[in-house]
């Protein structure tokens, strides 16, 4: 069975019907809700743990804990969403809307607000102090218990002093 001109009907219909394509960019594109467009971050929630940095397949994220910054090179990001699934604070999410073209592969940096940085610094300090105080108290208690026995007391004091020296360095990392 073979015919000719059997596409003519479709052609005629297409001639009189509206175009199926959109007049983009005059008419904006509509993305579905799940569209994986680009990553957004709620940077004040970020605890700079670096899990996203290590999980990102093209390695396009950088995190600087001291500066409180989170940097992404959107030109390298493949919008896979793996970082968002790994983030312990759930502060990353993939939202609709594609990356704009550009002349160079520039990275974008997000910085935590001054208040959050200040609050974090204070909290870290407070924790360090509290920890130091706790260690000191424990050391004194031990020393007091051992005032009778002289030989062991000296060793305990050395231990307590060592712990005190180590505490301020260790405390901020445990806090964050």
């Amino acid at each position: 069975m073979s015919t000719i001109l059997n596409f003519t009907g479709t052609l005629l219909k297409n001639l009189v019907s509206k175009p199926v394509t959109k007049n983009y960019p005059e008419e904006p594109a509509v993305y579905p809700e799940r569209s994986r467009g680009h990553i957004v971050i709620d940077v004040d929630q970020c605890i700079s743990c670096g899990l996203c940095v290590r999980s990102c397949p093209p390695r396009c994220i950088k995190v600087d804990k001291n500066e409180g910054t989170w940097t992404i090179n959107r030109f390298d990001c493949i919008a896979c969403g793996y970082c968002a699934s790994k983030c312990p604070k759930k502060c990353l999410s993939l939202v609709p809307g594609y990356q704009k073209p550009g002349r160079s592969k520039a990275a974008v940096t997000y910085k935590k607000s001054a208040e959050v940085m200040e609050a974090e610094r204070k909290k870290a300090e407070e924790m360090a102090q509290r920890k130091a105080a706790a260690v000191k108290a424990a050391g004194e208690k031990k020393a007091a218990a051992q005032t009778g026995g002289q030989a062991a007391g000296a060793a305990a004091q050395v231990q307590a002093a060592q712990a005190q020296a180590a505490a301020p360095v260790k405390a901020p990392s445990e806090n964050q």
Partner: protein
């Protein structure tokens, strides 16, 4: 005997945007031999396995191909799941099957458009891609990406298609089915199309078998090779038969793929009717230790994923064999004795995906 000359074809050629190079040895207008060479877009994806852990690798495996990306991700995760003895929830198996079939539909519709373009039927080309757009919309709505789905993970899937969305898809696929039946007439019933395809590039069943042809290319020559009957995903619960033609010419390959489109719609309908409720994924602990050879049916044919791990997060080896690689030998055989003007069509009828062949 006429004069023998060698004409280069590709790697840049208007008929297909894929970088394959063929040295065509011509005698007058007849091709007497075709010597293929590939290697223009090798990306070294397999070697990334030593740098990315097995979870990250899902995203790399998916990017093997820009058309059958979902299948590559699925083949890889299923191989890893088999090594780790992970039993994924039934709902996840069904969802993977639905996405796989949607992916097959968009691939086949793309190919039909390209075929129409190759024999100079521009309006049919655009019409096929217009139908394909509806499938892409469904894919985008359910996964968030039009080409790269990124919904697979080791242990299940990450996104759900709820009953309402699935109902909408099935309804829309009804429309798509009608449109496909209409273009089926244009492709298979039109005399001009038949003159370009019938009897062109015949590959007998024996030849196809000896050369190890895969997918619709092999099925058009009468070989019942369809990995879906192995029953991975939810295919074991669905009722279908591989679509086979016996003529082995370009027309048979075209007919095979059009009928597979209708088969895919039917499979999605069946899966939508049977899909059980339940979790999308199961938690996975530990690292893969062992090896597995996963075979799945991609739109272009059988793809093979070999994965080997040794109890570390970084796997030792990933090997992907894509269907186009298997079909290149068959292609060179069909080119022997063909008219020079038929070469573009013959190259297209294997549905070449050179980039994924080179990984």
């Amino acid at each position: 005997m006429g004069k023998v000359s060698v004409v280069p074809f590709g790697p840049q050629h208007p008929v297909l945007p894929e970088p394959i190079h063929l040295d065509l040895v011509l005698e007058d207008e007849k091709v007497i031999e075709a010597v293929p060479s590939i290697g223009f877009v090798h990306r070294g994806l397999e070697s990334l396995i030593v740098k990315k852990d097995y979870n990250e690798m899902v995203y790399v495996a998916e990017r093997t191909c820009g058309i059958c990306s979902f299948g590559h991700g699925m083949g890889y995760v299923e191989a890893v799941e088999k090594i780790m003895n992970v039993e994924i929830p039934a709902r996840a198996r069904y969802l993977r099957t639905i996405w796989m079939e949607l992916s097959r539909m968009h691939s086949h519709l793309l190919w039909l458009g390209l075929l129409a373009d190759a024999f100079g039927y521009e309006s049919l080309f655009y019409h096929c891609w217009r139908i394909r757009e509806q499938v892409l919309d469904m894919i985008e709505e359910s996964t968030g990406g039009r080409v790269i789905f990124s919904v697979n993970k080791v242990g299940g899937v990450m996104k759900d298609i709820d009953a309402q969305m699935l109902g909408r898809f099935v309804e829309k696929l009804g429309d798509v089915e009608e449109q496909i039946c209409a273009i089926r007439k244009n492709f298979l019933g039109d005399r001009t199309v038949q003159m370009r395809l019938c009897g062109v590039g015949v590959l007998t069943k024996k030849q196809a078998h000896d050369l190890g042809c895969a997918g619709p290319f092999g099925r058009a020559s009468g070989i019942a090779t369809d990995m879906r009957i192995r029953g991975y995903g939810a295919y074991a619960d669905l009722d279908f038969e591989p679509i086979i033609r016996t003529d082995g010419d370009s027309y048979a390959r075209c007919a095979c793929r059009i009928d597979e489109l209708l088969q895919s719609i039917d499979l999605i309908r069946q899966a939508a009717a049977k899909i059980p409720a339940g979790d999308l994924s199961v938690p996975v602990k530990g690292n893969p230790d062992g090896e597995y050879f996963m075979r799945i049916e991609q739109p272009r044919g059988e793809a093979v994923y070999y994965v080997k791990g040794s109890g570390k997060p970084y796997l030792n080896r990933l090997r992907i064999r894509t269907p186009t690689f298997a079909n290149l030998a068959g292609l060179c055989e069909t080119l022997k004795g063909a008219d020079y003007a038929d070469v573009p069509i013959l190259v297209l009828t294997i549905d070449p995906c050179i980039s994924c062949t080179e990984r």
